[in-house]
């Protein structure tokens, strides 16, 4: 306990209450607007479900897929959403390990994105199955036939990796919520009280519980980072493991991971901006958060450019006919508009916004993030589709145009994300209350940071509502 903290706690007990009140307000009170939004989003999601049932009923032919473009929107969405899922866990884990204290209001936001994006993303391989009701054949389970899934298939790696990542992310999200649920248990009434009583698992807040929780979180943070890296690497290997022009590439692993973090941060910024606006959390999600994340985004944007150059330059010089066919089709051929839109969205537009400090405002970063989300979706599309359209034998080249089914399902997932998020916000305080309250004990190294001489440069500065405001 430092003097400063003590002063804060002693000087403004009413602020502590206010913080809890502020953060619990979205959970305990819901305006009609929120219901309206949920209904709107729900309509999209329902449309997606209708489309999926329709597709399962009639066959994959209702999509725009064909030979040779056997993968299209669905796998694009799969890669995109799995990429988005790298927002949270990875960011918050790194920041947690690095003990960057400004992360505290951001972590849960980000982790929730991870879990929901992962659930949405993982549903796409099933949506895209020719016989989706048999998806469980991917799972190794004993059967009288004595047959097993093929552990050599990257799809099974996907299954293992996503299962692991989802388990880890859920734990990473849910464990720190337990104390907050305990708080809610004490505040809520009626059925919610019963619900939170169950969810809080009987949490009290003894030193033992706090210690174990922190230890668990520290271990999880160590474990989740390599898992997250492996997840998107394995997603990239879905492509890189097969001899398809421009897919069969060693750069795909890091390329996908970088892209995933890139799009993940962008999604996080958008989510934060929306939460800030909708839930009136202006005092908790401050410009400095957007500034920090904006800097990270800038780094990732540069990394993305680095990878796309690395990928395309080697193909250009390699000059293997099938690969060059894909390269030219994307850059000069039928995919030209999409390709250059992608470059604009991922680099040409966000780079100046993020690089110039004056533009790196909340609005600025949100604009940059929006273009990046679009750009990264296009990037996934341009990885999946052109390579399939232009495979080795030119006689069998093809065309792909999505049908209403794929578009509806895609829209549905883009609606499902905010819908799930809204529901989540209605059950869980989106900013970790106990963490924000600053009770976390500084590590010895971090303690120095908090010495009086460091106060001015403390990134934590200004992230709490100050007493007078």
């Amino acid at each position: 306990m430092t003097t400063r903290e003590r002063q804060r706690l002693e000087a403004a007990p009413q602020d502590r209450d206010r913080l809890t009140r502020d953060l619990l307000r979205p959970v305990l009170h819901t305006s009609p607007r929120i219901y309206l939004t949920m209904m709107a989003l729900g309509a999209f999601v329902l449309a997606g479900l209708v489309a999926f049932v329709y597709q399962a009923y009639w066959g994959m032919g209702v999509s725009g897929l064909n030979r040779p473009v056997f993968w299209g929107f669905y796998i694009t969405n799969f890669v995109f959403w799995i990429g988005i899922s790298h927002a949270g866990t990875l960011i918050s884990a790194i920041l947690r390990l690095a003990n960057a204290r400004w992360r505290r209001p951001v972590t849960r936001c980000a982790e929730a994105i991870t879990v929901f994006a992962l659930v949405i993303g993982a549903s796409f391989p099933i949506i895209h199955l020719g016989r989706p009701w048999l998806f469980f054949w991917l799972i190794p389970y004993p059967s009288e036939r004595g047959i097993w899934p093929n552990f050599r298939s990257p799809l099974l790696w996907d299954f293992c990796a996503i299962t692991t990542y989802l388990t880890g992310s859920l734990a990473f999200l849910l464990l720190p919520i337990i104390p907050d649920w305990a708080t809610l248990r004490d505040r809520a009434i009626g059925w919610r009280k019963k619900l939170y009583r169950v969810l809080a698992l009987g949490w009290r807040g003894t030193p033992r519980e706090w210690h174990r929780l922190e230890m668990a979180m520290r271990i999880m943070a160590v474990v989740i980072i390599p898992v997250a890296v492996s997840v998107h690497t394995i997603v990239s290997w879905d492509f890189a493991m097969v001899p398809v022009p421009m897919w069969h590439s060693t750069v795909f692993g890091p390329y996908f991971v970088a892209g995933a973090i890139f799009s993940g941060i962008a999604a996080l910024i958008i989510a934060m901006a929306l939460l800030r606006k909708i839930l009136h959390l202006e005092e908790y999600l401050k410009p400095i958060h957007f500034d920090h994340l904006g800097k990270l985004l800038l780094v990732m944007s540069l990394l993305w450019v680095y990878f796309i150059v690395a990928e395309r330059l080697t193909v250009w010089y390699g000059n293997a006919t099938p690969e060059v066919a894909v390269l030219l089709a994307t850059q000069r051929g039928k995919f030209l508009p999409l390709f250059w839109t992608m470059v604009c969205c991922n680099f040409l537009i966000p780079f100046p916004i993020l690089a110039i400090k004056r533009l790196r405002t909340i609005t600025g970063t949100v604009i940059a993030s929006s273009t990046i989300v679009v750009g990264m979706w296009l990037e996934r599309f341009l990885i999946v589709v052109p390579s399939l359209e232009f495979k080795y034998l030119p006689f069998s080249w093809g065309n792909y145009r999505p049908s209403w089914v794929e578009i509806t399902i895609t829209l549905a997932t883009f609606a499902a994300m905010p819908l799930l998020y809204l529901l989540f916000v209605k059950f869980v305080p989106i900013i970790s209350m106990w963490e924000l309250k600053g009770g976390e004990h500084p590590e010895p190294a971090a303690a120095a940071e908090l010495a009086p001489g460091h106060e001015a440069s403390d990134p934590w500065e200004g992230t709490l509502p100050s007493a007078g405001s």
Binding site: A40, A43, F44, V50, W58, G59, R145, V405, T408
Partner: protein, 205 residues
Amino acid sequence: MIFLAALLVAGLGVLGMALVKADTRGAPGSVAGESTPAAASGLSSGVFTPAHRTLLEAMEDYFDYFPTPVQPIAFNHKIHIAKGMKCLSCHAGAALGPQAGIPSVTFCMACHQVIATNNPEIQKLASYAAEGREVPWQPVNWFYPAAHVRFWHAPHIRAGVDCTTCHGNVSQQTVAVRQSDLNMHFCLSCHREKEVSVDCATCHD
């Protein structure tokens, strides 16, 4: 608020479109010749698991359930075998080809013109023959089409596999019933024991 209303309208619009699109049957299932819906052929319909005729059948298949057939005539295997007939006397195809086959009503009538003509079951048989109709025997052992099983009797008979191995001791049965779960485990365990092909493509294709 306007934005929200617009979002709601858009969402409902997409939902409506999906419902309307999903309701226009026929178009996607239509295959050869644009005017012919899939349902026109006896082989297909737009069912959930199209390999099965109905969803019920799909579920029965999934849970290894084979309904016990009701035979039009209570054919008594026991009596026939007791009289010295062999399986192949009637199911001659088993030794020659893929299917064992069920003899035609004319085959039955070759004997039953004179034998046991008072038996009400035999009278049923005679009336089928008189009408020029085949007895609508119901299959007892079969594979669902979704299993994509290619089973040939003849190689098994040649290899000396006894009929009872799969069909049970029919000599003690009256109306034949399914004796074993003729599932992949059943086939494989025997194939493994006899060290014959366990290659998938031998039976599935």
